[in-house]
Structure formats: structure tokens, C-alpha cells
Amino acid sequence: MSAGSPSTAAGFEQELTRPWRERAWRQTRGAAPIFAILLSLLVWIAIRNPNFTDPPVFLAFLKRAAPLMILAAGQLFVIISGEFDLSVGALITAVVVAAAGLTEGDPGRTWWVIALLFGLGAVVGLLNGLITTRLRVPSFITTLGMLLVLQGAVLFWSGGAPRGSLPENFRIFGRFGFESVPVIEQLPYSVIILAFVGIVAILLLHRTTFGKQLFAAGGNRRAATLSGVDVPLVRTIGFVLSATSAVIAGILVGGFAGISQDAGAGYEFQAISAVVLGGAALGGGSGAMVAAMAGALSLEALFTLLNLLGLPKPSRDAVQGLIIIGAVAFAAYRLRRT
């Protein structure tokens, strides 16, 4: 969307030498509409429900939005590199079900299970990346196949009905926070995790060589290769980051929503929608981290608002669909005018 996509080798070299602040601004500027959308949604919610501006209520909203925002951050790395990751929803389900099955409610197992889940995420991301880049399977198919494999494996292992339960010290991340904090009462752990992930993701995408290479790989693969970027490696790291974000989101979802075999259903499309709402182009080469996370927060705000307006679930779907199309159409229109 922004002019940040170098389409020639020379343009790419020029892009690399630009100061990062300017680059980040150029990459974010194109996504300006999403901040306007987010602000108007939040104002509308606050009008319907004046309590919304109370710090505890707003933090509770952020807590609900945290998994999708983290997921969108991960998805953005993959989208910028020119690929898709459709397996994240199934991975979230796998994380929730595996966590319950492996800990069986025993708090002593929490830490090694979490370590194991991150290991699972790394393996899934690595497989997605290697199959896509080395075997040249389109990532749409790779991650769709991975979705089927994870979904089937989880259900096969749990026999269709998830067993076990999550120990309290596992659920704490999605559910609780630091208590008795002045003004805001409770500072949810998930919001702290969200802030941490957000900062790391922003720095990684907009301040490191890896970030620049990711934009280059998605913008013009050939130019990137000629400039010495190891495109397959960069893309594979993108997939690992996306899978890792799904593991984190899964741990949070397990904490506040509980165990279910469709815990992660639909998250993959929501994450992609969020990233696109945040101005990233499918096909790669452009996008901004703050905007993608704002896109996710906007989706979550939209769900909250439609709920407040008393719309039944089906109408919410329809409105959500129209708004996603409308926002992307508007972004495309702006792009054509400039």
C-alpha cells in the first residue's frame, strides 16, 4: 500500500539506506484509514456504553483482543514475505487441546508443557516454511494441508472429545493479572504479553535487517535475491514467527475460553482480514506492524460494537463481511488515486 515496496534492485538498495524512522513512517502512512476506523469504532462503543472508557473495562476489552492482535502480528510477517498462513487457527486448537491432555490439570507440568508447545509451534512453522520454499508448494496449499493434518491429528488423539483440564497456573496468562494496581485495578497478564509481543514484532519488522529482507522478498523476489537476500530462509523464519504467535495466542485462548475442539476455528481468516484491514497487500511487499495490530483491534471492536447494538450473531457476520470488503476497496481506491 505504501511506497515501501522496492520493485527494482536499485530501489531496494535505496530503501535499505533510508533511516528506519522514515521507512517505518512510509510503511505505516498508507494504513492511515485503519486508525480512523479504529478510533470511530471505539468512540461509537463509548457512546453506547459509557463504562467503556473506565480503565478496567477497557483493559478487559484489550484482554479479549490480545490473541487476535498477537496472531495478526505473526501473520503479517508471512503476508509481507508474499505468503499465507491458513494453519494458525488449527494450531491454536492443537495448543489448547494438547495443553489440556498433557497437563491433565497438574500444575507441576505447566512449564514443560508450555516449552513443548513452543517446540510444536516451531516444528509446524518450519514445516510450513520448508515445504513452501524448498518443495515450492504454494503456501495456500501447504498451510491448508497443515490445517487438515493438525485438525485431524488433534481430534484423532483426543478421540473427538478433548480430555483433561488446564491447571490454574496455565490459565493464569489468559485469565488473571496483577491485582490492586492503582487506577486500573487489574493489569491483565495477557495485556503485558501483548505489549511485549507488539514491541518485539515492531522492532523485528521495522528495525532489523531481517525485516528489510522480508519486505524485499515479498516486494520483488528477484531483486531481493540479486541483492543477496536468502529468500527461502527469510520466508521460513516468517512462518516460524507466525506459528509461534499462534502458540502464544493458543495459551491465552485456553486461559480465558477453556478447552474445546473448535477453540481456534476461524482465527486464520480473522488474522488475515486484520492484516489486510491494516493496509498490508496480499501478495507481499508492504504492510506495517502497528497498523496490522490496529486492524485486529478494529475487528475485535467491531464484534463488541455489533454485540452492543443488539445485532444477532448472523447479522454480525454479514456486517463484518461488508466492512472488510468496504475497507479494502477504499484502500485500493486511495492507492489508485495517488
Binding site: 495456500f140 485438525q151 485431524g152 488433534v154 481430534l155 497487500a281 463481511g321 470488503i325
Partner: protein, 327 residues
Amino acid sequence: MNATTAAPNRAGRNWRGLDSDTALIYGVLSLVALVSWGLILANGGQINVANTLVRSVALGMVAVGQTLVILGGSLDLSVAYQVSVTAVMASYVMQGNPDRMILGVVVVTTIGLAIGLANGLIITVLGVNPFIATLGMALVLRGVLNSSFDNFAGAVPEQFQVLGYGAIGPVPLAVLLFAAVVAIAWILLRATRFGHHLYAIGGSEETARLSGVRSGRVVIGAHMLCSLTCVMTGLFIVSRLRAGAPWVGPDGNYDLESIAAVVLGGTALIGGRGGVLGTVAGVLILALLDNLFNQLEVNTFLKDVLRGVIIITAVAVYALRTRRGRA
């Protein structure tokens, strides 16, 4: 990816007009058929070809439509809900009355064409990425369907069920209809300007446009044809179920399955290369595997795992072949 050529035949024709890619896929299909039937017979099961074919019809029609849009470099993720819309509206309009059959078919065809037109316009005129446009359309259709109907609505008259259960001689009517759809799509792609333009656009939209192809119209046309195949699948399903419900489409998983069948059939997801004959083989391979898994009583969930692995493997093999071919 700009090495794709606009012509339908990248590899040379080697045998009665079948290019080597299609020949390979039919080789794989024969192998899958032999192995799966052998396994079924060895386990004391029954082979029912007609049954397998009928079960392929629903997915097959949608997959043919999906092939057209994918060849043109687009995609349709709203097919499952389009099938539901047709099934529900057909039984709702017909209300079991034979006199309202034609009205029902006209209504669902009009709705289908309108949805296809909307998809095409959103993609070409508004410039929305097809993935997002049709995903949004799926959400809209789901919302409208679920807020208007919460169960089976109306019924189709008995005469209408001929479509789903009738046969001419030993050949089920639905299979004949499917064969006709495939033939029409094949001719459309091979022998008409529309078909050649579609390949050109899928190969490179910009090159096609600069060469004077009105790419917008062609893509819109492909989306409308895809929607027509969804209407046919919806009518076929409702004729078998007697009534349509909002969940018949998504339960059949037609969106992702049809894309999987297209890709399994050797059509490139980026467009410009492939064809409907490959897609038919893809659909049949999926149906044969399904049949095999059922007969061997493979765990339902394990089936998903196997299917995922098979799809990835197949596409990896095609990718490998394509690279060798270019080297």
C-alpha cells in the same frame, strides 16, 4: 512465475490432444483407483463405481467453476455458502409444488448470477483482492442465510428429485449432467476467445490487458460461471435431501475442498496453467480416497491427516516436475 505462457498447452500434446501434465494426473488417478479397489476387494468390500461417481458430482461441479476462476488468477471462497443459498431458496420457493419448479430454478439461477456478478465487480472494479472479496462475500451470505433460515426450509416436489436419483439406463442422471458441465467448460477453455483470454489473464493480467483483452469482463464472466456451477450443485443436493438448510454448503466443505481438487488436478494456484480435465481427476482421486477410507473404516480424524499429507505431496511433485521441465 512469469514463465507461464498464455497458451493452454505448455507441454506438447502427445496423445490425442492430452498434454503431458493431464496424462500424468490421469496416470495417478488410475493408480489410485487400482490400489484402492484392490485394497477394498482384499478386505472383502464392494466396489460401487456409480456410487463413487454420484458422490463426486456435488464437489465436481463446484470444482469445475473454481477451475475457471483460478485459471483467471482469481479465487472463490464463497462457493460453500452459494451452494447453501441455492439449496435453501430452491426448496423455499418450490414448497413441494411441481408447478413452481421452473420458478424455483429461475430464482436460484438469478440469485447465483447476481452473486457471481457481485464477486466479479468487487474484484475488478473496486480492486479488492479476490481472497478478501470472496471471503467477505461468504460472511455476508452466511449472515443473511442464518438470519433468515434456521432449519430446513420448504421442500422440493417429488418430480424434482429425479435430478438426484434418476438414471438413464445404468448411468445416473447427475453423472450425465456433470459430464455435460465438464464438456462445456472444456470447450469454453479450448475453443473460445473467452477461454484463451482467461488463460492469458491468469498468466499475466497486465500483459493481457495491454494486448487488448478486456480483463475485467473476462474475470467477471468466470465468476458468474463459477456461481452457476454452485447453483447446479445446490440444486443437485436439494434434490437428494428434499429440502435445503443453511449448513449444507459449509458442511460439505466445498470452498477449501474444491480448491484442493483443482490444485490436485494440476492447475496452478497463481492462474494461467491447467484445465478442467485435471480437476475432474482431482475430484475423482479425492472421492476414491474417501471411499477407500470409509471401506477400511479408517478413523474419520485420521482421514483428514491423510488427505492433508496427500494434497501437499501431490502438489510438491507437480512443482518439482514443472521446475525440471523449465531447467
